[in-house]
Subunit: 205 residues, 2 copies
DNA sequence: GTTACAGTGGGGCACATGTCCCAGACGAGC
DNA sequence: GCTCGTCTGGGACATGTGCCCCACTGTAAC
């Protein structure tokens, strides 16, 4: 078993344990047990538990950015025939919420890893980079949606995107506490309405 | 030293340790070291570390609800002379954000305790009760602000309140990651604008 | 002064954790 | 077949953890 593959297997196992039992429970032994390896194999693939955790944080956050970007892009490409701006934005937010609802354990793990990373000086930047990527993804959706519906934004797209990301963050934590779709849907509607305020027909379109 | 006082001191110490070093570091020994006691004193006041944590979660979350309610009520009572709805709502949100900015460690501790509580079946209800209290506080501010400015809401105040709470949650996590006032202020402005959509002059006022 | 007892400190138990070491297994090259 | 170097398993170490016990203090009652 090549080292690279073993590292991947250990990262997978660590992610599984964290999602199921929390960061607190992700001890070296729990991870190797999950991966079906011995402790020696662990320290053959990784310098230390700390290094493993660093890679876990990095991989999970990067993966999450990818999947979110994918979900948003998928919703934005759903433009079969004429679509309105609120429909597009609503679909994008629905896609995001559906992804969170589909795998709450993963989302909870991500939040725990955020906290973990924010406590480690050398990992804190990963969280900020993650949010920057979210901002970019949201900005992409906003501009694409406006372009597809002959509208334009009256405010900076970057600012609007940050607002959207802030809101999705709130939606995520709300879902993890209540698991209540109704509690989410109202906020979702208001969010869309809030953003629409800053759009207008594009005279150039 | 009476038992009740000792328990309070230990709760204080635990809160301090958690805010400074995280929940992960809040071991029994770390807490008694912070409180300047011996291990025996700890187990004289508390049945177990688990029981202590249960009380910590309860107290911190209840305290947070109180202080948030206080901040919001304070902002709402700032009605010297004629004030507009957006001013009132903006002031309330500013008060909230200022409280978060003033003590980020405490806010981070609260988020960690949320995660901790959500992992413990018997503590999860505390988080939900906390959010329910936030909802109520936000609803109170919304109705008070509307009444003070001769306006009324066109949507259910409960739903609007939940939206506000969701948003403040996002603002909090955003602040903890970036500590960037500008990043917050834009979202704050959009939030106010978003809510204002659902207000109208009250003909009965 | 003696007794009784709530309260406290130090030490110790059993267990879990991160890390390391060393004996052995495995397979490739000759 | 043999050797050599990579890889792996089990065991062990030091440390940290939650919890407990026993000896001791101080104080209050008589």
């Amino acid at each position: 078993m090549p080292v690279a593959e073993r590292r991947q297997a250990l990262l997978d196992a660590a992610t599984t344990v964290i999602a199921r039992d929390g960061v607190r429970a992700a001890s070296t032994r729990a991870i190797v047990r999950e991966a079906g390896m011995s402790l020696a194999s662990f320290h053959y693939a990784f310098e230390s538990h700390t290094e493993l955790m660093r890679h876990v944080v990095e991989r999970v956050l990067v993966d999450e950015v990818h999947s979110v970007t994918e979900v948003l892009a998928g919703a934005a490409e759903l433009t079969e025939g004429p679509v309105t701006l609120p429909e597009l934005l609503g679909a994008a937010l629905d896609g995001f919420v559906a992804a969170v609802e589909a795998d709450p354990a993963r989302e909870q793990a991500i939040l725990e890893l955020h906290q973990y990373a924010l406590r480690e000086p050398e990992l804190a930047d990963l969280v900020r980079a993650e949010y920057a990527a979210y901002d970019e993804a949201a900005a992409g959706v906003l501009t694409a949606a406006a372009a597809a519906t002959g509208t334009r934004w009256t405010r900076s797209v970057e600012e609007l995107a940050r607002y959207v990301v802030t809101l999705t963050d709130g939606l995520t934590t709300s879902w993890l506490s209540f698991r209540d779709p109704e509690r989410i849907s109202a906020a979702r509607e208001y969010a869309v309405a809030g953003i629409l305020q800053f759009s207008e027909p594009d005279p150039d379109a």
